[in-house]
């Protein structure tokens, strides 16, 4: 695999291979020195145009555990802040010859565009409301860890489907692994055509939630009230909050974080025995190690690594360096 841009262009085999790799990295985390030399000497640029805690931290940590060199750039305080276009930023960063660029952008399709502009492998760490493939991979990894197989399992994704890149990636990933997915939420927050687009069922109430094996709650943002998607968060909670009454004993609970306690989830279920939320965060690190391994070390056609020969070629016959500051 050259890049990880979306779940849409992955196969079931791709997902299973990444999950197996992630499982093999679990052992590394139990060592005293939590590091393997797999990506030594490789450079990974992490470029985040949106605030993020767990995605940026876990990608950075994943790269470091694989011994890669990481440069983390936040949009704030960077040249993007000064009005530089994405294309120009990528051209600049590509001049340093990174092996991979991990990008988070508020705009759909940003990672895909970047992949066309750079020789580096590109990992989509979230593009607008479009996709968040690494989240979906850690979601199915976590569910598989508990359930063994997702074939025929019922997964309900509940909440603000319209504004969720997590929903778009995770619904596809669960579906690819054989689960039957239902999305549920207020009619104002499930876009027309969603069921057809993703091959899932759509429900505006939680009456049949009892049939679910996995309940995946999404974050409900306060801004949605001002935009008249829901009248109040209280009314949302009455209709869609997952609480001890709605969560059955055999059902598993997932959430991508960060959680609005008391809105989409009642406090008592978050830390309950059915909750996989902490496992999701922990597994996020393993899955992101597996993703970086997949595109940088597991590739069938490894990308050329610039070596000493290249450096010599860049020096002209007179012996004066062609690049660099005058002495």
């Amino acid at each position: 695999m050259r890049d990880l841009l979306s779940i849409e262009n992955l196969s079931r085999e791709d997902i299973e291979r990444i999950c197996e790799r992630a499982a093999s990295f679990a052992e590394v985390g139990r060592r005293e020195i939590k590091k393997v030399p797999t990506l030594r000497g490789r450079t990974i640029v992490s470029l985040f145009y949106e605030s993020s805690t767990r995605t940026s931290a876990s990608f950075e940590l994943a790269a470091k555990r694989l011994s890669a060199d990481v440069v983390s750039i936040k949009a704030q305080g960077s040249s993007a802040d000064k009005g530089e276009s994405l294309k120009d930023t990528i051209a600049t960063l590509s001049a340093y010859d990174p092996e991979a660029i991990v990008i988070r952008s508020p705009l759909a399709g940003a990672a895909q565009l970047v992949a066309g502009w750079t020789d580096a492998a590109v990992v989509n760490a979230g593009d607008g409301k479009h996709e968040h493939p690494s989240q979906a991979l850690l979601d199915v990894y976590t569910a598989l860890e508990r359930l063994g197989s997702l074939d025929g399992k019922r997964v309900w994704v509940v909440g603000d489907i319209a504004h969720s890149r997590v929903a778009r990636s995770t619904v596809r990933a669960f579906g690819l692994l054989g689960a039957e997915v239902t999305v549920a939420g207020p009619p104002t927050l499930i876009p027309p055509g969603f069921g057809e687009a993703f091959g899932c069922d759509v429900s505006y109430d939680l009456d049949a939630l009892g049939s679910a094996d996995v309940i995946y709650a999404l974050r409900m943002q306060r801004e949605r009230m001002a935009e008249s998607f829901v009248p109040t968060l209280r009314e949302y909670a009455v209709a869609y909050q997952i609480d001890a009454r709605r969560l059955g004993a055999r059902q598993l609970l997932m959430h991508p974080g960060p959680i609005n306690r008391g809105i989409e989830l009642a406090p008592e279920v978050i830390d309950g025995p059915s909750s996989l939320i902490t496992a999701q965060v922990r597994n996020g690190l393993l899955v992101r190690m597996a993703i970086l391994y997949e595109i940088l070390a597991g590739s069938e056609r490894p990308r050329p690594v610039r070596g000493v020969d290249d450096a010599i070629e860049r020096i002209d016959p007179e012996g004066a360096p062609t690049i660099g500051e005058p002495a």
């Binding site: 276009s85 294309k87 952008s105 399709g109 409301k129 876009p191 027309p192």
Partner: protein, 449 residues
């Protein structure tokens, strides 16, 4: 009392010609046969039997065997970006693109920078067109000051300065009150009002057509009712005020239905379609390529079928390209950030011929009628091939095969949604008032005998 197209502003002059050996096709005249077309001082003098016409004195001879001579096209809807955004297009490059597309005339929209909302600006543009435009170019003024949708412009003064009509195109006139006043005022000033129909409340932050594809991509969608409800509102206002208006670029089945209802009720409403809405759907947006971002957006296959049917039935009166040049750096960005619009003058006929005529979906005659009818929106003579008519003729090679964009564009911009398409048919020459406004480089013409 119609005016001739060549009365609009352009740098050319009327001329004399003999077009020899072409198949002459003018569906309005029921004409489809081999004829020699004799043009004297800008007007068609004679349609002679092949080989029987004599070359008028001082006239150019055009050997057109193998070509189809049809009435030249008229585009009621282009953005030439002058004044203010000349890095995208200007009068010279934009009208060169029009001529290369077989158009004998275009009407430039008023969403320039600043907006064309004063009589002095209209007069200045007309003077500039006299010096720079390859084909006759008309100008409209905005309906509201600064296109803010609040106060009416000095429409009477702009008419006196030569504005063909009025439009806030690019933006809708959101206020029903302002819309009504503009229609009432039309009884004083005349001139058609061209409407970009969209309810910003319903469009919200939408960047593409709402449907399965927008749901899949997580892009905010513009619902079809954003367009159709505004058409219904303005049709009702036109009836109420006994006024006339033209609805630009329909994109949806529901919009076609709204036009049908308006026409049945007797509203003086006309409607327009672009080639891209007739040929493409929102499936193209799956690529997240901003070349497929335009307003109104591409919609579903069902919508496209309704548009094709409206073109055939005449519910839609004319084709306009909505030629909207943008610079590369404004399109090579994530979809949501990109500006809306595509260029269309150079590909309009070839795209419609390739995608609709060759597969037998729409008759060639229908395409010709709709691509010329835009002149009537401004009370101009619809280009026709008949004795005494102004000689506005396009010669088209229906067998030509070419790749869109492969040789670059006459337009200053390259934001075409058809780049890379293998097209069948291409204009070989465009004649305006008997004078050659465009000839394809490979197309040879005889010297004066």
């Amino acid at each position: 009392m119609s005016r001739a197209v060549a009365d609009l502003n352009w740098r050319g002059d009327s001329g004399s010609l003999l077009i020899r050996g072409a198949r002459v096709l003018d569906p309005r005249k029921g004409l489809d046969e081999s004829r020699d077309v004799v043009v004297k001082q800008g007007r068609i003098a004679e349609l002679a039997a092949p080989g029987e016409a004599e070359l008028p004195e001082g006239a150019e001879l055009i050997e057109a065997a193998g070509l189809v001579a049809m009435p030249a096209f008229f585009d009621p809807h282009v953005h030439l970006r002058q004044i203010g955004e000349e890095y995208k297009e200007d009068l010279e490059t934009g009208t060169r693109a029009a001529a290369a597309g077989g158009f004998c005339g275009v009407v430039a929209m008023a969403n320039t920078d600043p907006a064309t909302d004063e009589p002095e600006t209209v007069a200045a543009m007309r003077e500039q067109a006299d010096r720079e435009a390859s084909v006759p170019t008309g100008f409209v003024g905005t309906v509201t000051v600064g296109m803010r949708g609040e106060e009416l412009t000095e429409m009477a003064a702009m008419r006196a300065a030569g504005a063909l009509g009025f439009s806030d195109d690019g933006l809708p006139i959101t206020s029903a009150r302002v819309m009504r006043r503009a229609l009432q005022y039309q009884h004083l000033v005349g001139g058609n009002i061209l409407l970009h129909e969209e309810d910003p409340e319903l469009s919200g932050d939408g960047v593409m057509g709402e449907g399965v594809v927008s749901a899949a991509l997580g892009l905010a969608g513009v619902p079809d009712v954003s367009e159709s409800t505004m058409i219904a509102r303005d049709a009702a206002l036109c009836l109420h005020e006994d006024a006339r208006a033209h609805v630009q670029h329909l994109s949806a089945r529901r919009s076609v239905e709204a036009i049908e209802v308006a026409k049945q009720r007797g509203a003086a409403i006309t409607a327009e379609l672009t080639p891209h809405h007739l040929v493409l759907t929102d499936e193209e947006v799956r690529s997240l390529d901003a070349r497929f971002k335009m307003n109104p957006p591409l919609r579903s296959e069902d919508d496209r079928q309704a548009l094709i049917e409206a073109l055939r039935s005449g519910t839609v009166d004319c084709i306009g390209t909505d030629h909207a040049p943008h610079a590369t750096h404004q399109k090579e960005v994530p979809f949501e950030q990109a500006l809306m619009g595509v260029i269309g003058l150079e590909t309009a006929f070839p795209v419609l011929y390739t995608a609709l005529v060759e597969p037998g979906i729409v008759e060639l005659e229908t395409i010709i009628e709709r691509m010329t009818a835009g002149a009537a929106l401004f009370d101009l003579e619809i280009p026709t091939i008949a004795p005494d008519a102004e000689a506005n003729i396009t010669l088209i090679d229906l067998e030509a095969e070419w790749e869109a964009g492969a040789d670059g564009w006459e337009s200053r911009s390259s934001n075409s949604c058809f780049t890379g398409w293998k097209l069948r048919s291409r204009p070989a020459a465009t004649i305006v008032a008997g004078s050659v406004a465009y000839r394809q480089r490979a197309f040879r013409m005889g010297a004066v005998a």
